[in-house]
């Protein structure tokens, strides 16, 4: 079955742990970012995000977190959704949600970093 990870389990296992480590490393960055920009106006956000040490880790964190959460959700889907068509639909929705969130987040960060 195409939606089953059975043929690439080791790769998924490793990817989940690599992205997990990246997320742990960047959790302090995330908290700093949210705390320092909570209530900030757009000009302050642009000033912060335009620094490469902000927009680069922000993009890395977005990528790692989204890969990590998609794998996790897929594991849950495999455990609880067994009807083939519902399984295919759930898997598709999981990917669509991840991609949509990723595109909006990445474009927003780049607009703040370069668009002003």
């Amino acid at each position: 079955m195409a939606t089953h990870t059975g043929n690439k389990g080791t790769g998924t296992f490793i990817r989940q742990r690599v992205t997990g480590v990246i997320n742990i490393v960047l959790v302090g960055f995330l908290i700093w970012l949210v705390v320092s920009l909570a209530g900030a106006d757009r000009a302050q956000m642009v000033a912060t995000f335009s620094h490469p040490l902000v927009w680069i880790p922000a993009l890395v964190l977005i990528g790692a977190a989204l890969v990590h959460m998609r794998i996790g959700m897929h594991e849950i889907i495999l455990d609880y959704v067994h009807e083939p068509r519902l399984l295919a639909l759930s898997t598709l929705l999981n990917t669509v949600f991840t991609v949509v969130i990723g595109i909006i987040a990445a474009i927003s960060v780049l607009v703040l970093a370069f668009g002003g």
């Binding site: 997320n23 742990i24 959790v27 106006d41 996790g72 959700m73 849950i76 607009v111 703040l112």
Partner: protein, 127 residues
């Protein structure tokens, strides 16, 4: 054609709940919470990218007491899921499986996540 439905074994309905099992279930639930919470991040970043007036509107939304409680719980969710992940790294190398060890690191994840959440909110929000 092989049967489409594979046989499944009962799990939640027949096992006695233990600490590690309950926290394992919680780890998944919190993972789903973090998953859905990405919408909040995108709402914030997206509004900021669009313009000052959109950002101001979203900040009004984030200032609402119910959303503030949600953000507090989201902070705990983040810390607890992270601590649970570190626990799994320890288990991945084969350590911490003995009876007292596995219970101790599971309690440690709870203590850490509660303290870390209170510390972050006390330092950056409350005081």
């Amino acid at each position: 054609m092989a049967q489409q439905f594979r046989p499944t074994s009962p799990h939640l309905s027949i096992w006695r709940f233990t600490l590690t099992m309950s926290l394992s279930i919680l780890h998944r639930i919190l993972g789903v919470g973090l998953y859905l919470g990405t919408v909040l991040f995108v709402l914030w970043l997206g509004a900021a990218a669009l313009g000052q007036s959109q950002l101001a509107a979203v900040q009004g939304f984030f200032g609402h007491p119910i959303i503030q409680i949600g953000l507090f719980l989201y902070t705990w969710t983040l810390f607890h899921h992270m601590a649970g992940g570190i626990k799994h790294f320890i288990w991945d190398v084969g350590a911490g499986f003995e009876r007292t060890g596995r219970e101790a690191i599971t309690w440690a994840t709870l203590v850490f996540s509660v303290l870390a959440t209170l510390l972050v909110w006390a330092l950056f929000v409350w005081f």
